[in-house]
Symmetry: C2
Amino acid sequence: MKRTVFVFSALIVSLLILFQLSKYAYVSNDISIEIIISVIAIVFLVIGLYINRKSSKNQKHLSIAIDHKKVKQLGISKREYEVLVQISRGLSNKEIADTLFVSESTIKTHVSNLLLKLDAKRRTQAIQKAKDLQILPV
Amino acid sequence: MKRTVFVFSALIVSLLILFQLSKYAYVSNDISIEIIISVIAIVFLVIGLYINRKSSKNQKHLSIAIDHKKVKQLGISKREYEVLVQISRGLSNKEIADTLFVSESTIKTHVSNLLLKLDAKRRTQAIQKAKDLQILPV
DNA sequence: ATCGTTTTGGCACTTTGGTATGAGTCCCAC
DNA sequence: GTGGGACTCATACCAAAGTGCCAAAACGAT
């Protein structure tokens, strides 16, 4: 939002500058009218591209953002979410147990609960559903 | 590529038109010089935005684009790739067998070969690696 | 301090996944 | 027409994943 304001301010300022320049060009007759117009064209092309870059960056961030609210809505606890992340990295229950310093039984319990909460039959399906729900980076 | 050519053609044409207009404005003195400049500014702003929209669309397509060459490099066959896609959708071997109209044994063979070729220990890891290698939509 | 949730874990059991091996069919290239 | 690759399938076996049930410890809020 703040950036949009900044962009429009810059736009207005450059407009004013260009009006001044165009008057100056008019005074010194026809030597540079094409150059002025070219400059204007380039400047506004760049401005257009700049605005575009901003919006595409926003899109990127949106597609990566994780919906923490949805995690809570699904009743997925903090620890369960950690397990979910490790599952999506392709780790086995034993490996997850080792990285989280708990027993494999515990991981199995967490996984079982995750499958229930995500309405999935397998861990691979859980990964897919979690990404659809934007609770895992796509 | 074709669209880029189109955009640049439009850009050059509009430039020529604007030069003509600017000369006309010069002949009819200073009544419309600001208007001409405004028009130029708006036109090129729009062109910039248009190019931006295109490039952001391209970015989207790029992030989704699949590296078919890499699939071949890894020696993954057509059928194996089909199985890989179904794995990433979260299907079980039996379900994949049903959707591809073959036996579960066949799918097991394909999966085993896939794990070898992707250097993965589990199907979840295969999904992860395949996405890293851009042979599956991220 | 007590209640509810989370986290942890064990055990027995079933299901699914993955390996190894071997083999038959099909098709394409040389 | 022969060899090689891709696709198919089976069997046997082991590993991993997942279920059900239970229960204790830890934690957080009122």
